[in-house]
């Protein structure tokens, strides 16, 4: 086993001594293919037994060792020292107090209170939010005498969200929660989809209604993809949030965030114009018109009025050619019959609504390399 030297720069916080937060570096020597968690445990063993870190399985199953490594939320047991080192070098990662470069920067998870060093309070944010989405099955009527029987394929849809190990890495990375601590968040919403998509659950519509109506619910996700990169189990929480939005759309569930209006308006504008007319989108998102007449809904007038200064500024700065709809604007039009083809695509796709889940289906291997080596079959060429 080859051993290499690594420096871990750890963000410490010791409430009992009223110290911190402060940075401390630990030099460790370990096989580069061992994990950052192994490095932390060596530091704890050799240098400072008071270094607090939560861990158990060391195999990315228990979800205990969530933390930030070089600014990325992840599991310490799943991150190899050499991998963290090379990222730190190429990205010269800086911790909050500066420095960095050749050091692996280790911090507690974000968006939750720190109890001590790398141990965060999972209860006050993560678990509270998980409980918020009623994370258990609500079936109809009396339970059957034996197990529920469902066709296996009807459960496939929720397997991705079932892979969650509750490590909190997605919560730690969430940029919406950073700006709005009340956001229900990626872990809880992925958990919500696990029941919305479950064929045995009888409260699907109520669940969707609840999550769409909450201003900090499904339409508070800013689409930043951080949770997808952070999740060590491929749950892709943001994708589950988008599925919740899709399900809410199918159930015609209105929301006070204008989320569904926005999506419907966007989709319709592209069908009509091929490219996005932002001015029309702004208006339609707040107040979908019927035959040119404004039909303001709850909160729409306020939203529309709030957006007027922006629109006026856009016009005076020369960005927009017109105020939203108030003066008819000139919008880029697709030439010739292109728009008809876009409309035909809509007709087809709205008919099928095929959803391909690569988590379940798996990605096709890159065929480039083997293909280059394969000689064309003379027989086949002859037949043609």
């Amino acid at each position: 086993m080859s051993v290499a030297d690594f420096t871990l720069k750890v963000r410490r916080f010791k409430p009992e001594d009223q110290e911190g937060p402060y940075w401390e570096t630990f030099d460790v020597d370990l096989d580069p293919t061992l994990s950052v968690l192994d490095g932390l445990l060596q530091a704890k063993d050799r240098d400072d037994g008071s270094l607090a870190v939560r861990c158990s399985c060391r195999a990315a199953i228990c979800g205990s060792c969530g933390m930030k490594i070089n600014g990325q939320s992840t599991l310490a047991c799943k991150t190899m020292l050499e991998e963290a080192q090379s990222y730190a070098e190429s990205h010269s990662v800086k911790g909050e107090n500066g420095g960095g470069g050749t050091e692996i920067v280790v911090e507690p998870m974000g968006n939750m209170p720190v109890i001590k060093d790398l141990v965060t309070d999972m209860e006050s944010t993560h678990w509270t939010k998980i409980r918020r989405v009623t994370p258990w099955l609500l079936p109809e009527g009396e339970p059957p005498e034996r197990e529920y029987v469902v066709p296996p394929e009807s459960m496939i849809d929720v397997t991705q969200s079932m892979a969650c190990i509750q490590c909190g890495a997605c919560v730690s990375s969430c940029l919406s929660m950073e700006a709005d601590p009340d956001f229900i968040g990626p872990a809880a919403l992925a958990k919500a989809y696990r029941f919305v998509g479950d064929p045995r659950d009888a409260e699907t519509k109520e669940r969707l209604h609840d999550l769409a109506q909450d201003p900090h619910g499904i339409y508070d996700c800013t689409h930043c993809f951080s949770c997808i990169d952070a999740c060590p189990k491929g749950v892709a929480p943001m994708d589950q949030i988008m599925r919740l939005r899709r399900a809410a759309d199918e159930e015609d569930i209105e929301d006070q965030n204008h989320g569904r209006n926005h999506m419907e308006a966007f989709t319709k504008i592209i069908e009509k114009k091929g490219t996005l007319d932002e001015a029309a989108l702004l208006q339609e998102s707040y107040a979908p018109g019927i035959k040119g007449k404004l039909v303001p809904k709850h909160g729409a007038v306020k939203g529309l009025i709030e957006s007027i200064p922006t629109a006026v500024r856009g016009v005076t700065a020369g960005k927009m050619r017109s105020l939203p709809k108030l003066i008819p604007g000139v919008h880029h039009k697709l030439p010739g019959d292109a728009q008809d083809h876009v409309k035909r695509i809509y007709a087809h796709a709205e008919d099928h609504q095929v959803e391909l889940n690569l988590y379940i289906r798996g990605e096709e291997p890159d065929e480039e390399a083997p293909e280059a080596e394969v000689e064309p079959e003379p027989d086949e060429a002859g037949e043609e």
């Binding site: 930043c224 999506m263 096709e364």
Partner: protein, 300 residues
């Protein structure tokens, strides 16, 4: 003379709310000797919003754009992080041959077909670093951005998820803005918000949260002494520039930080005047940037 010829998808916003992006891109490409063949029949990428409604619809619409690009026989280039992310997402699903043939059946009516073999679609930022080359870019500089302190702002869609955006082959794509700023002679400003979300996707849904995000990043950049930000994403530009006065209110602070589109920053170094690059069409004044550069007059 041009050895780089590309099928060019400008996106919707560069022809709508940020026309200065489209215009500056045309000037800069011409000066760099990059030939752009505009895909004027192509459609909106869906910005992730159409996929929210109907995934197959978003995939078919983007497959159509890819197929139109393939008809030109050229690699495709976009100038919008959001287009990059949304289109890469569709590309990932369209790599599945069975699914792709289903989508291609719809495209057949227009005589189009998408074949992922050898097809690439890259943001101008990636083209600049990977295909054009920063050495070659440095040679074209007429007015080095000496002393100009520039904060990079990437936009989520060009950063994450890494697996989908080619980071396995190009692990440093999340450092390219810093490299371009450096190659142009500018000084990179390190600040907290460079790789965070501008908040734009929820501007109509959670306005306060959205504006707080934009305001916080601009504040952080100002605290780090930035003269301006630069972004390859026109949607980030909308929240950081067009909404800046509202963002200022959301964080209760005077802001006033110029936000440049990537081609504008390149264009300044190539010797174009700010007005030629449409910098007078911004909401946050770009005058400070102009003043900073006046010490180094353009020789072009």
């Amino acid at each position: 003379m041009s050895d780089l010829k590309l099928a060019y998808w400008p996106g919707c916003v560069s022809r709508g709310f940020t026309p200065e992006l489209h215009g500056s891109m045309a000037l800069v490409a011409d000066r760099l000797g990059i030939e752009l063949v505009e895909l004027d029949r192509a459609n909106c990428c869906g910005a992730g919003v159409i996929a929210e409604h109907n995934q197959e619809l978003a995939d078919t619409l983007n497959a159509r754009t890819f197929a139109l690009a393939q008809q030109t026989g050229l690699p495709m280039m976009n100038i919008c992080s959001t287009c990059q992310g949304s289109q890469s997402e569709c590309q990932q699903r369209l790599a599945d041959s069975e699914y792709r043939s289903h989508i291609n059946e719809t495209l057949a009516e227009e005589g189009l077909t998408y074949d992922p073999e050898g097809f690439t679609n890259k943001n101008f930022l990636w083209v600049l670093v990977e295909d054009y080359g920063l050495d070659r870019l440095s040679e074209q500089i007429q007015r080095p951005l000496d002393g100009l302190k520039v904060g990079p702002f990437y936009g989520c869609y060009i950063l994450r998820p890494k697996h989908r955006l080619g980071y396995e082959d190009h692990p440093e794509r999340d450092l390219y803005l810093e490299r371009v700023i450096g190659a142009l002679g500018g000084e990179v400003v390190q600040y907290d918000g460079a790789r965070k979300c501008c908040g734009f996707p929820i501007i109509t849904m959670a306005r306060d949260v959205s504006l707080r995000q934009a305001g916080t990043h601009i504040s952080d950049a100002l605290d780090a002494d930035a003269d301006c930000l630069v972004t390859p994403c026109p949607l980030c530009h909308l929240n950081l520039d067009l909404q800046q006065p509202e963002a200022a209110k959301a964080v209760n602070r005077d802001l006033g930080l110029a936000v440049l589109h990537l081609p504008q920053l390149v264009g300044l170094a190539l010797g174009f005047e700010p007005k030629q690059l449409g910098m007078n069409k911004h909401v946050a004044s770009t005058e400070w940037v102009q003043q900073r550069l006046e010490a180094v007059p353009a020789s072009a």
